[in-house]
């Protein structure tokens, strides 16, 4: 029972980070229809940038803030340089450009920062675990979850209540109508990428705090794909719920199935789940079902 509760809480907390990254993914898809396979590399970039600032001796929050700014700029640049020209191209073309981007980013990150595992020194969060009754939670997990939750709230209220957020929602809903009402679609696309970069950067920084930072954090970024498929590609609540469910699923498989299938069950389980889930409900929990006509 204790193991069950422990696994559940850890799962929810890691899932919170996935949810944050998944939110960025869904945002890009909703606004511009780009299916982004470079999300893992976006998390890498953000994580390494904030690590660099942190090891230069900045306080953690300031480092995170600067990495957000850099993420914002990089997001705008990426959209302007690579994806702006592809509006209206076939899906495969756009996907492959994001694949190309992911190689470019990954190669650059590896070239600049190397492939050794790096850790945030001194540790940002204290190693002393927190005890809630019989439950033991690592502080890293708890604070990461709180941070992820906080950012999720900020992002969601940004879409709800600000002028820009509403413009983005309008574009996602009906581009033509939004254009005729004076919303600049190009601006919206660029902002979507900038926000995705920022969300992924925070997610990457938090993930890097948990297990140290190396290229495999980019692989964790790929886990957003099962999450968004589960939630539905164009649903923001779906991304949040999907991210948390994937986090829970992953930790349960790690805790219970590892005995029977030694090795990498924890890494593979979300993808197996995704493949099976796609067979039964390809549009996800809350995604739009497309009806095809010739």
């Amino acid at each position: 029972m204790e193991l069950f509760l422990m696994t559940l809480t850890t799962g929810v907390m890691v899932g919170g980070i996935y949810a944050l990254v998944a939110l960025g993914w869904v945002l890009i898809y909703k606004c511009s229809g780009v299916l982004n396979l470079a999300m893992g590399e976006l998390t890498l970039i953000g994580a390494y940038v904030s690590l660099s600032f942190y090891s230069m001796g900045m306080p953690f929050l300031l480092a995170l803030f600067f990495s957000l700014i850099i993420g914002f700029v990089l997001g705008l640049l990426t959209e302007r340089i690579f994806l702006d020209k592809l509006i209206g191209e076939p899906v495969l073309t756009v996907i492959m450009v994001t694949v190309g981007l992911s190689f470019f980013f990954k190669g650059t990150v590896e070239f600049i920062w190397g492939t050794d595992t790096r850790v945030f020194t001194p540790p940002v969060f204290s190693i002393e675990p927190i005890r809630l009754g019989s439950l033991i939670i690592g502080q890293v997990y708890l604070w990461s979850f709180v941070a992820a939750l906080l950012l999720l709230i900020i992002f969601v209220s940004f879409f709800r209540y600000t002028r820009w957020g509403l413009a983005m929602q309008a574009t996602a809903d009906d581009e033509m109508a939004a254009l005729s009402l004076g919303v600049s679609a190009r601006f919206v696309y660029a902002t979507a990428w900038a926000i995705a970069f920022m969300a992924a950067g925070v997610g990457g920084t938090l993930l890097g705090n948990i297990n140290g930072l190396n290229i495999s954090v980019g692989y964790l970024g790929l886990l957003v794909l099962p999450a968004v498929v589960l939630g539905g590609l164009n649903s923001i609540p779906g991304a949040i719920v999907g991210g948390i469910i994937i986090g829970i699923l992953q930790n349960f498989c790690g805790a219970y199935l590892d005995k029977y299938f030694p090795g990498g069950v924890k890494e593979i389980a979300p993808f197996v789940f995704m493949a099976v889930f796609l067979l039964f409900r390809p549009h996800g929990l809350w995604g739009w079902e497309r009806i095809e006509r010739v």
Partner: protein
């Protein structure tokens, strides 16, 4: 009709003529010249280094052919093809190492060729297994399931289970002399080169023939519009699965061939990167064109070789450049894909077609 040059315009009178392999004598001469180049000139001129570059090109072509069939001709996007290469390579290696071959087969040097065929079939069946979702989903969702194929096959099944068979640890090394084709022991770059050339020619000819058969036309119909294909009476699921089988078969062939060039095989030879690399190769070469597969492979491998040669002189001043060349390679590959997608979405094969058309009308084009 002239038997030497094609006239400008289409003057074929039957489908047989239209689909003919060697429509003009000029073309026949060109093909003989190409064969001479491949079998005589390159082995004479190239040293061991360039031969190994050629082998890499051949391996890329073999791997990319299956991807080209799936993406370019059947419209089923796959991002997990390296998994089937890995299945082929591992099946072949395990057969050679563990299977109790009858003595005469080993003596005649048939063990390796037979294992290649079996490996190709196994890879084909494995590919069909992961092609099954294509009956239900398509587009982006299919991309995700093929991605899952990669992670499940290579990172889980092969790394955790298959690679442990026989207790050799991670890497399987083939003792020298076990890779034999007939009387020849494949132990030098030159012999690998000959084997590669023959395999590539066989596969390309086979594919080209397949594409002008009923199955090939059905695939193209499915690619262009799967709903209308179904309305036309094509069994869409069956032909999609057939495409997955053939693609997996060629992939398995490629993997089983490549073990002759590797001292030891391990799961790291078939990463997700390689799947994406193959897709990148056909995008750069041109989607939906067999020429494109070859052009893309040549282009990608040669460009990276040239890049490496270009970096060599700089290495004395900046040793980091050479040490981390792998990462530069990745970044360059990524940029090349982006650039091609943005500026030349039809790939190199389209350029080639344009040049050919230009000379077809030369010197009196409109």
């Amino acid at each position: 009709m002239s038997t030497t040059w094609l006239p400008c315009g289409d003057y074929h009178q039957s489908y047989q003529e239209d689909h003919g392999w060697f429509q003009t004598r000029f073309l026949k001469g060109k093909m003989i010249l190409l064969a001479l180049c491949l079998f005589v000139l390159i082995p004479l001129v190239a040293d061991s280094y360039w031969l190994s570059v050629c082998n890499t090109v051949g391996y890329t072509i073999l791997g990319a052919l299956g991807v080209q069939l799936l993406i370019g001709f059947c419209g089923q996007v796959t991002l997990g093809h390296a998994a089937f290469l890995a299945v082929g390579a591992y099946t072949s290696t395990l057969l050679i190492l563990e299977f109790p071959w009858p003595g005469f087969l080993v003596n005649w040097g048939l063990a390796y060729p037979l294992s290649i065929v079996i490996a190709a079939v196994v890879a084909g069946v494995w590919s069909v297994l992961f092609g099954l979702p294509s009956a239900k989903v398509k587009g982006f969702y299919l991309i995700l399931t093929t991605m899952a194929a990669q992670f499940i096959t290579v990172d889980f099944i092969i790394t955790q289970y298959v690679a442990q068979i026989g207790g050799r640890g991670q890497a399987f090394s083939l003792p020298p002399g076990t890779i034999r084709v007939g009387p020849w022991v494949i132990d030098s770059d030159l012999k690998v080169y000959y084997m590669m050339t023959i395999l590539v020619i066989l596969c390309i000819v086979g594919m080209a023939n397949l594409l002008r058969s009923r199955a090939g036309r059905a695939w193209v119909a499915i690619r262009d519009n799967d709903i209308s294909a179904e309305v036309m009476g094509i069994n869409v699921v069956q032909y999609k699965l057939l495409a997955f089988f053939v693609a997996g078969f060629i992939g398995g062939l490629a993997g089983a061939f490549w073990i002759s060039n590797l001292a030891a095989i391990s799961p790291e030879h078939f990463p997700w990167f390689w799947s994406l690399w193959l897709v990148g190769v056909i995008l750069i070469g041109g989607v939906g064109s067999l020429h494109g597969t070859v052009f893309g492979s040549l282009f990608m491998v040669l460009v990276l070789e040239i890049l490496q040669l270009a970096i060599m002189p700089l290495a004395d001043t900046y040793p980091k450049l050479l040490m981390d060349f792998l990462f530069i390679k990745e970044a360059t590959f990524g940029l090349a894909i982006c650039a091609f997608m943005i500026f030349e979405p039809n790939g190199l094969a389209y350029r080639w077609w344009q040049i050919k058309n230009y000379f077809n009308l030369w010197p009196f084009s409109y």
